[in-house]
């Protein structure tokens, strides 16, 4: 049984709901920490830890989770860049191992802008690092949400980890 753990950081609750709405996720809550379980089959599951930006997370938990994380999905819009470059130390602490882990920075853009994007950029995102992509989405295209998950769970996943 392979279980891969991810962190979900959303800068907008509405956006998060959109990303979670179409997947049959099993929601668990342990000590105020929300964890979604997404089972592909009996041999492969993904756990998604919902990082609440309002409440933060105790350092003890951060240090416990970090070594187990396979990646992170950051959801926001065009202001995401401002947030990521701000001095939000917790986010830096959680995401600073993105060289090893898969990271998808999912940025919502206007529908028109999204429609104008090249097909490859829509599917693959823009290269940020070996396992990191800047990915664009818009809720009018449900596939853009699905592809973000696929990018995170499968495409950027270390090939060796599946073996």
């Amino acid at each position: 049984m392979n279980i891969f753990e991810y962190l979900l950081i959303s800068f907008n609750e509405e956006y998060k709901e959109k990303f979670l709405s179409f997947l049959p996720l099993e929601k668990n809550e342990i000590f105020d920490l929300i964890v979604y379980r997404y089972a592909i089959d009996e041999n492969l599951s993904f756990l998604v830890y919902d990082f609440d930006l309002e409440k933060g997370m105790p350092s003890s938990l951060i240090f416990h989770l970090k070594p187990h994380l396979s990646g992170q999905l950051l959801i926001g819009d065009e202001k995401l860049h401002e947030i990521l470059t701000s001095k939000n130390d917790l986010i830096h602490l959680l995401t600073n191992n993105s060289v090893k882990n898969s990271t998808v920075v999912a940025t919502r853009i206007h529908k028109k802008k999204y429609d104008d994007l090249d097909k490859t950029i829509k599917e693959e995102g823009l290269y940020l690092g070996e396992r990191s992509r800047l990915y664009f989405w818009n809720e009018f295209d449900i596939d853009s949400l699905k592809s973000a998950w696929y990018l995170l769970f499968a495409k950027l996943q270390s090939m060796n980890q599946f073996n």
């Binding site: 049959p24 668990n28 756990l47 696929y150 495409k155």
Partner: protein, 378 residues
């Protein structure tokens, strides 16, 4: 006359070695046992020591003995036929390494060069240490020592991988460097070092670089001020070389990036000195954060760590949460293996071959296909 102390591992070469050094230039005392050599090193003055052999243990023992007996200024030269010894002793404070066999003439010439080098340094600094420990000489004293000589020199101070350099032109301190910092910013990071080694190398040529344009006197006063500031700030913290560690059981949060970096460095036992040396920030930014981290018990002395963890477990702290999460969701097997490895006795470890991870060509693996199909169907 150069006074040499020589340890010879294999006594069968004794006659030959004595014949090499039986000139007016050298006075060489040869020993085939460590104990009498150590004894005489405490009684007489020598210019340098030679270890002629292939056992790294002997070299380590001898250097350790010199260091413990305030003889660390004594340069140690290794002469060996064992090529792999270089790797084993490269981290030790050795002055030179000669790989034998060498043609007799070449050997003599190299030996002469070593003696000239040592002779030159000894004459320049007049029997003072030209390399040694910062526990014996503070940087302020070393700067004054080099200044008084009025020569071009580089004073290097090293602790582990951290290396600071001070450059002098005719005794005038003209440039200081530590990582990418220079001038007073670099001095600011070096002045509180009380452990590590120093080395002074004199040069004929002047240095073109310049980041310090004040007089030596002004620089020394400034350094003394920095040191006094450090001393004043360093309150309510454990001794600088005592082991400390990040307390995973604390429910407090690091409140800024410096605190996070410090906690990351303290994930394994470390010392405040090592944190200060490794940090990208000046001590006047790091020391207050260290004080806050100790106050919040995010950092603790290693000796008190287990005591604190027991207390937190008894109080049902976050330690409980770790176990709860782990028991609900089965962890990846490879993580288990890492933990097991740490627990193993090192002598029983069956080392696997070193390997590197190479990204495969971008073909869809069955698992990836499974994920894709599942997500698209949802």
């Amino acid at each position: 006359m150069v006074e040499i102390l020589l340890f010879l591992e294999d006594p069968c070469y004794e006659t030959e070695v004595e014949s090499i050094f039986s000139t007016e230039r050298y006075s060489c005392k040869v020993f085939t046992e460590l104990e009498p050599l150590q004894k005489i090193s405490l009684q007489e003055f020598f210019d340098f020591a030679i270890v002629w052999g292939s056992k790294s243990e002997t070299i380590k023992t001898l250097i350790d003995f010199f260091q413990k007996n305030n003889l660390s200024y004594l340069p140690v030269v290794i002469m060996t036929e064992n090529k792999s010894l270089a790797d084993e002793v490269c981290t030790l404070p050795i002055a030179d390494f000669l790989l034998l066999p060498l043609p007799r003439e070449e050997f003599k010439s190299l030996l002469k060069q070593i003696c000239l080098d040592i002779d030159f340094r000894m004459n320049v600094v007049g029997r003072f240490n030209w390399q040694g420990s910062l526990e014996e000489y503070h940087l302020l004293n070393l700067v004054q020592m080099v200044s008084s000589d009025k020569r071009n020199a580089v004073l290097s101070i090293r602790y582990g991988d951290a290396l600071g350099k001070l450059y002098f032109n005719e005794g005038k301190l003209v440039h200081a460097q530590y990582n990418k910092l220079d001038g007073f910013q670099a001095l600011n990071r070096l002045v509180y070092w009380q452990r590590g080694n120093f080395q002074i190398v004199f040069r004929d040529e002047r240095f073109a670089v310049q980041s310090l344009d004040r007089s030596n006197q002004e620089i020394l006063i400034e350094m003394a001020k920095i040191f006094a500031d450090f001393d004043r700030m360093y309150q309510q913290l454990p001794e600088m070389y005592q082991h400390i560690i990040c307390n995973l059981g604390s429910s407090a949060l690091p409140s800024n990036i410096i605190q996070q970096n410090v906690l990351r460095m303290a994930e394994k036992p470390t010392t405040i000195f090592e944190i200060l040396v490794q940090s990208d920030e000046d001590f006047n930014k790091v020391v207050p954060e260290l004080q806050r981290l100790f106050k919040k018990q995010l950092l603790v002395e290693e000796s008190k760590f287990n005591e604190l963890i027991d207390l937190q477990k008894a109080n049902g702290g976050f330690g409980k949460l770790f176990y709860t999460i782990s028991s609900v969701f089965k962890k990846k097997e490879n993580n288990r293996e890492e933990e097991d490895y740490e627990d193993q006795n090192i002598t029983n470890v069956d080392y696997s071959k070193p390997s590197i991870e190479i990204m495969q060509p971008n073909t869809i693996l069955p698992e990836q296909k499974k994920v894709l199909e599942k997500i698209l169907v949802e």
